[in-house]
């Protein structure tokens, strides 16, 4: 089930909240209800993956208990637990990629396994790896299977994060106060959910059509169209992901649960390190704590640090998807961070405006690798941006070829992109800051009501038959 769907907004979320608070006096019942609701949420799209997540939860809980009870065997148990999680991720997410590349390299006629990627597997696997490491380090322990199941499956974070620490969630789940409805948090959560829904539905989705118009035919578009498409994608991915995260945080807040912030105005960053401190912050935290630091971090000299940075970013790139484009994207960001460290050692400083512009430009150009369907397609897009298609299609033609965007006029498209850009740059306070000091004022209430009505009405698009050759 998606947050931006009727069944979630009109049926699932209100019913989950109502039953949870009705059962609130009996903690185990309330937790049990939330686990059942979360598994229903997960299985809505395809119930056949429910056994997978249940098995994953059961296995990791058992390893966690064993780690706690048998400290002398904890290294072996940790290796077993982390290894099994990585194997699970490898089979479901990377098997096709590995087989395809092996076949390409060796020329062997290897058949691709027919494996469909289960929803959220990257998130719930990383969450549980972090839990096992925390248990091994003595920072976490969970004696209750039901509580552990809720920690992993709690639906607001299940499909797209944030990636949680056990220690930051379980005290909140255990609190009796949090199981009583609190109007202030319900209101603040609704406020954040409305912002996220509007970001996703009213800004990101229209921008997606503009980005597709360019990325679907990079060999045929003009330089201006290419830059507009890349800018549109730069804004789309931010509004989409941060909007979805806002909806997750908003829903959790309605349950009186505070989840960690995942985005903090990343496009305000003035260098690439700052960008990663503001973009998908819980993934950055995971990679730093469970990969970069164990690889040595910055404690063993510059060469080892450089190696740790590059390895972290390469694997971080690969985590986003099983394709060389993601590896290239991660590699570019890793190299940028290495260059930044070298630059900082010179003691030179750029004015903040220039540093910001360089950072934004770099992030924007590297999104080309993230969005392109292949490395050659990314190359074609970069060539288009460099003006390699002097007779390339202007925006109007490109939009006409993008079937999903055929109803949009170029003027509207440019307006959407520019407005999205202005919103990113001009708003000094992001949605999390606004939710943090939320006050239930009526102007704010009117804005939320209008935003909810407009966003809900945008969910049900009527898309007729798209191709007509008469």
């Amino acid at each position: 089930m998606l947050f931006n769907s009727y069944e979630y907004l009109i049926y699932f979320l209100p019913l989950s909240l109502a039953v949870y608070f009705l059962l609130g006096r009996k903690a185990a019942w309330a937790v049990g209800w939330l686990v059942v609701a979360s598994l229903f949420f997960y299985g809505w799209w395809n119930p056949k993956y429910l056994p997978l997540i249940l098995a994953s939860i059961g296995f990791n809980f058992a390893i966690g208990r064993a780690l706690h009870r048998r400290p002398r065997q904890s290294k072996a148990l940790l290796a077993l637990g982390v290894g099994a999680n990585l194997v699970l991720l490898g089979v479901f997410k990377y098997a096709n990629f590995a087989v395809r590349n092996t076949a390409d390299l060796t020329g062997l006629p290897l058949a691709l396994p027919h494996i469909v990627l289960p929803l959220g597997i990257s998130f719930f696997t990383f969450t549980q790896i972090a839990y096992l490491v925390d248990v091994h380090r003595g920072k976490a322990q969970e004696p209750s299977l039901l509580n552990y199941a809720l920690f992993v499956s709690f639906f607001p974070h299940l499909l797209a994060g944030p990636i949680l620490h056990h220690s930051e969630m379980m005290p909140q789940f255990a609190s009796a106060t949090n199981k009583r409805p609190q109007a202030f948090h319900l209101a603040a959560g609704l406020f954040l959910l409305a912002i996220g829904l509007a970001k996703k539905v009213c800004i990101a989705d229209p921008l997606a059509a503009v980005a597709a118009a360019g990325f679907d035919h990079p060999e045929a578009i003009s330089a201006l169209t290419a830059w507009l498409a890349v800018l549109a994608y730069t804004l789309q991915i931010y509004f989409d992901f941060s909007g979805y995260t806002d909806m997750a945080l908003g829903a959790a807040r309605m349950f009186n649960i505070q989840m960690p912030v995942n985005f903090n105005s990343p496009y305000h960053a003035a260098n690439i390190r700052e960008f990663w401190q503001r973009w998908h912050m819980t993934l950055s935290r995971f990679l730093r704590e469970y990969l970069y630091i164990p690889l040595g971090g910055n404690r063993h000299g510059e060469w080892r640090t450089t190696g740790a940075i590059l390895a972290t970013f390469l694997l971080g790139g690969l985590w986003h998807g099983a394709a060389w484009t993601f590896v290239a994207w991660g590699a570019l960001h890793g190299c940028a961070l290495v260059c930044l460290r070298a630059w900082e050692r010179t003691g030179l400083h750029l004015p903040r405006g220039i540093a910001w512009a360089l950072t934004f430009l770099f992030v924007m150009v590297t999104w080309v690798f993230f969005r392109a369907s292949s490395l050659p397609a990314a190359g074609a897009m970069l060539r288009a941006m460099a003006g390699a298609n002097p007779n390339g299609e202007p925006l109007q033609e490109a939009l006409r070829h993008g079937l999903a965007a055929d109803a949009q006029t170029p003027a509207l498209v440019v307006a959407i992109v520019l407005l999205g850009g202005v919103a990113v740059l001009a708003l000094r306070r992001n949605s999390n800051a606004m939710a943090q000091d939320f006050r239930p004022t009526w102007p704010r209430g009117a804005a939320v009501a209008v935003g909810l009505v407009w966003s809900v009405l945008q969910l049900g698009k009527v898309t007729p038959f798209l191709y007509f050759n008469f």
């Binding site: 909140q172 949090n178 319900l186 609704l190 006050r439 209430g445 809900v456 007729p464 191709y467």
Partner: protein
Amino acid sequence: MELPRSPGPAAERASARWLAGVLGATLAVLGAGAAFVAWVDPFQQYHLATHYPPRFYFLHHRYINPGLAKNQPYDTVVSGSSIMENTRNDFVARVCGGAAVNLSMPAMSASEQRLMIETALADRPLKRVILVLDFNEFAGGVDERQDVAGPLPRFLYDRNPFNDLPYLLSWDVLAKSWRIVSGDTSERFTSDPNAAWFWGDVVRFGRDQVLRGLDMEHLNARYQQPQRTLEGMRASFNHNLLPLLRAHSETEFDLAWPPYSILVWLDFAQRDQVQVSLDFKRYVFEATRALANVRITDLQNDAAITHDLGLYHDIYHFAPSINARLVEATCKGRSRVDADSVDEFERQLRAQVMKVNTPVGLATAIGAPDRATGEATR
């Protein structure tokens, strides 16, 4: 990590009032919008359009057909792809008896055809269902759909109002409802309930029209139709249509093979799809011959139709007069495929395909100068 502290009882009370106000206003506006859409009902999901001329919006078949299936009075259904859209309900009723509805849709897949017929059969027993079979609808997997068909609004293919929110709470539908009420006719639609999807009066038919832009050596370059396998087509038929035929023995099912132009068979020959297609026709016959409620009509070997490109808009789509002939043949029992005739149907069609797949045969078929002699053959 901790939840921000609630500012106190006063803030709790203010927040409760705020929540009630915001949610109340939001639900009131959305409820009013949904009620307005249900009242106007532009896609006729809850009632037929009676207080305004119906609007059959251009290429909105997948949204409106389930409404027609649920609410129109009929006992006979015509179901096919875009080639059957030029079939008038009143003509079917006159020729076949009873009241009819045409539930055809462009780029239809077998799974969509099944869903459409299941929707029709869910509410009432049907006297007759005319299923016009397209080879391409059985391409791919058993649940295959063409991307160009757009998303399938499954929520409209049942009587459950609780899953209708994408219809009731959609800005697109709300805007259509308002345009109906305000008399705005700027959108493209037809209003004849007997010919909801009829396009035969707005396009040209003729040899020049058919041959326009065709690469005669690679006919599929223009149409981009997928390759089919016998195994896949059989699986799709077994999954989608055969269970319907078996489960509704009270309904007469007329399976009809439509008369594509002979150039479609030339395309099949160029793509090594002739044998697959003939084998599939044979399979459909064998799979249904024991079912007393199933008959097969076949006009694909009728050279008077298939070789006359003047009757076509392109190599697939024929003129409305051919729709009428197909319906007549079906309901009057002409061109019926049975145990005695099945071999002869196949032999004739195979011979026609072999002939057209030669330079002289092609030149004869398309009426172009013979490439060997330079002589015009028609």
